[in-house]
Amino acid sequence: MQKEQWINEVLESTQGMQKAEPGPFLFEKVTARIEKSKLVPIENENTSYFKWRFLIAACIIIVVNVFAIRSYLNNGTSPTASEIQNTGSSAENNYNYSTIYSY
């Protein structure tokens, strides 16, 4: 009985309450924040522009690395400097051959 009464009194404890008031200068604080936020979008635009550039660059690096790792795993070893040089020169030779026209 006592418990029920206490619970009901607690539930009704907001009766007759008055409106709480915010601190002074609310309007001034709001307008100051609006004015300040007008500068922010320019900063945000730059930030998001750089963020996109960074993301694209990161993606390119990741893709290049994935291809490098895959080709390394397929070949078993990484190509030596001389192999690279040879490959370059053979390509060069092929290029030369293909440009010799014997009509």
Partner: protein, 184 residues
């Protein structure tokens, strides 16, 4: 912003500031946070004034913004608390917020003779789910009619009535727990 716009916006702030603050403080139960969120509500009002179609009254629309901003703030705070819990596990000290006992909040509008009991009520309100909390605060503390609460919450008056009943039932269970905890 032009001076004329500022003047009319000033009138709007003056007219609605106490009901916005009163709603927000009932949700957040912290004076400093409520001041901050009240400002955010009016910034949103200013930014969205052009979008206001006049389908509901302006006060209903402002109530909706106040409720949304308050719930957003509480969700953010909850996320930070979760992060705080992880930090505590990592060895950081317990945040002050977690150390608070139930019944810490004094609503500034409550009559002096009801202050102690209202502390228990607000502690119990804090544990309600979002929609029950919104319906209970708008009905019992703000004194809005169920029809207007339905517009604010974008639901039917019947659903609001059910939410208020469920909120009261949940509050009774929580208050019963407080009754025994306080040593009766």
């Amino acid at each position: 912003m032009g001076n004329n716009l500022y003047t009319s916006f000033n009138d709007l702030v003056k007219e609605h500031q106490s009901r916005v603050f009163n709603t927000v403080i009932s949700f957040l139960q912290d004076h400093h946070d409520a001041e901050d969120v009240t400002q955010e509500v009016f910034i949103e009002v200013y930014r969205s004034l052009e979008k206001f179609k006049g389908e509901s009254s302006i006060s209903t629309w402002i109530y909706r913004i106040s409720v949304n901003k308050s719930l957003d703030f509480l969700r953010k705070k909850k996320r930070l608390k979760r992060f705080g819990f992880i930090s505590t596990m990592m060895g950081d000290p317990i945040p002050e917020e977690n150390a608070k006992e139930p019944g810490h909040f004094d609503h500034p509008g409550i009559l002096l003779e009801n202050k102690e009991k209202a502390r228990y009520l607000f502690a119990a309100i804090e544990s309600l789910p979002e929609n029950q909390k919104t319906a209970f605060i708008l009905f019992n503390i703000e004194g809005l009619p169920q029809k207007e609460i339905a517009i604010v919450m974008d639901t039917s008056p019947k659903a609001v009535e059910s939410l208020i009943q469920r909120a009261k039932a949940a509050l009774k269970i929580k208050l019963e727990y407080f009754y025994y905890k306080r040593g009766n």
